[in-house]
Homo-oligomer: 282 residues x 2
């Protein structure tokens, strides 16, 4: 999976230079970000099943950034790719329902329905409990979409909360994993519609997570720039090719900085290398 | 604190009817939402110190919704109110930094800096650990803003994760509370710049939270529509009036549905009643 974390000061040169000359900084930066993401999708999308836009990178450009995000979603869909919105949302009842409308649903208004982003999946945060996740999952299920719940992430601070030992035994993430497994619906292609975000930088946990969540698709960020290696992730693919999504962002988009050559060719090469490494595990 | 959770099909009649006739549903709904929020601020803001827009309610209207959010922030600031963006964000390093830029900072681009929302505080989710919070807190601190971290929320599902008993003793929320206390900076007006979201529906925990976080400002949602009562929250105000923000949304905005009268007068009356009840605790 191709992560899209566009940084306006680190875009592919062709995208930055294709931007219209006039307009406010937010509009120009958002146009450049959208052009960059389209170029990245055109270059590396062929070796991926999905793209994962990081919502924060679009929100920081305000309304223009949100419009760019909608364009990127449309471009990815036109290229035959699934879109997973990475926003790690989570909130109570009516607020969770509003996130569902924003991401996979539509909002009734007196002026007609307003369509949401129309993504195929999104990430969610579990801290507030099952009732908050159930609202998001219901919204996703109604749209034929999926939800990936944070279970054990790839950052060092995962030890502060996720790894805390419970009185009932095992780390907190084990309990969250059991909740994720419980919330998952009927399996298709070996996997359910509620997945887990599992950091690729802690491969020692992946086998245990697969035991706790036999049918959950795993989203595995942290490959490349964050230090994770595809080769360590075999248990994630136990249910088959649909069992895991290996996500890389910077290691694909900036591959030319280490590999040399044009950005597009280097990105495609790195995406194809990761795909081969992942499929070799199945 | 005045919560702003605008629902396009439940706006104050004057706001809905003041909307321009032409345009796409998203633009018209966003204009109506912005007009509604401005009217609510004009009516009830005088009895509040801050407004709390729920980001999901704006995101569901896409780019137009984000533009409406920016207008609401500006209107609240012009009315002399602080703005707390309720988005419960949380992510790793570069993504957390992007949320900081979106909410309280600015984003460098080749076309000039793009200002973020410029809010005075925002809510954050703790599941991914201290390093993810530290990035958000640094961004907030640089802007003179504050962060409110979810500790123990007001929904029934709080038992699923937040209340889990740790092997080291006490519930998970106690450990998160200790982390929040540790992350807080020097106190001003008796409180630090890192606060805690503490559901008003579990008043039995508030005294213990105040012990664990002696200087953290508490954000107390769940008053009114969710069943919490201001009168139960005295320990939250131990550091003084700045010790806690009592938040109500629907019980203020829809006060006219039970109290009768015009929406604006009923909203102001309910906000004043809550303010009096809160100040009586100090």
């Amino acid at each position: 999976m191709l992560g899209l974390d566009p940084d306006p000061i680190r875009l592919w040169p062709a995208a930055a230079s294709a931007t219209p000359v006039g307009g406010a900084p937010a509009e120009r930066a958002a146009a450049a970000v959208a052009a960059h993401c389209r170029a990245v999708i055109d270059a590396a999308g062929v070796a991926c099943v999905a793209v994962k836009p990081q919502l924060a990178c679009f929100e920081r450009l305000g309304a223009a950034g949100w419009a760019a995000l909608a364009q990127v979603v449309a471009h990815a869909h036109a290229a035959g790719l699934l879109v997973l919105a990475d926003g790690k949302r989570g909130d109570i009842d009516v607020s969770a329902a509003a996130y569902g409308q924003a991401l996979v649903g539509a909002t009734p208004t007196p002026f007609g329905e307003v369509e949401g982003l129309g993504v195929d999946a999104f990430t969610a945060a579990p801290y507030m409990g099952a009732d908050t996740l159930e609202v998001l999952i219901s919204a996703a299920r109604a749209a034929g979409a999926g939800v990936f719940v944070l279970v054990r992430t790839s950052n060092p601070g995962a030890v502060d909360v996720e790894d805390l030992e419970l009185a009932s035994g095992g780390p907190l993430w084990g309990s969250v994993a059991a909740m994720v497994s419980r919330l998952g619906g009927a399996a298709r292609a070996g996997v359910s519609d509620v997945g887990a975000v599992v950091g690729a930088t802690a491969p020692e946990h992946v086998a245990r997570m697969r035991e706790l969540m036999p049918r959950a698709p795993f989203l595995l960020p942290g490959i490349g720039a964050q230090g994770g290696r595809v080769e360590d992730l075999a248990p994630a693919f136990a249910p088959g090719r649909a069992g895991a999504l290996v996500s890389a962002s910077r290691s694909i988009v900036y591959a030319h900085e280490s590999a040399g050559g044009a950005p597009a060719e280097a990105a495609r090469g790195e995406a194809e290398r990761l795909r081969s490494a992942a499929w070799a595990l199945v």
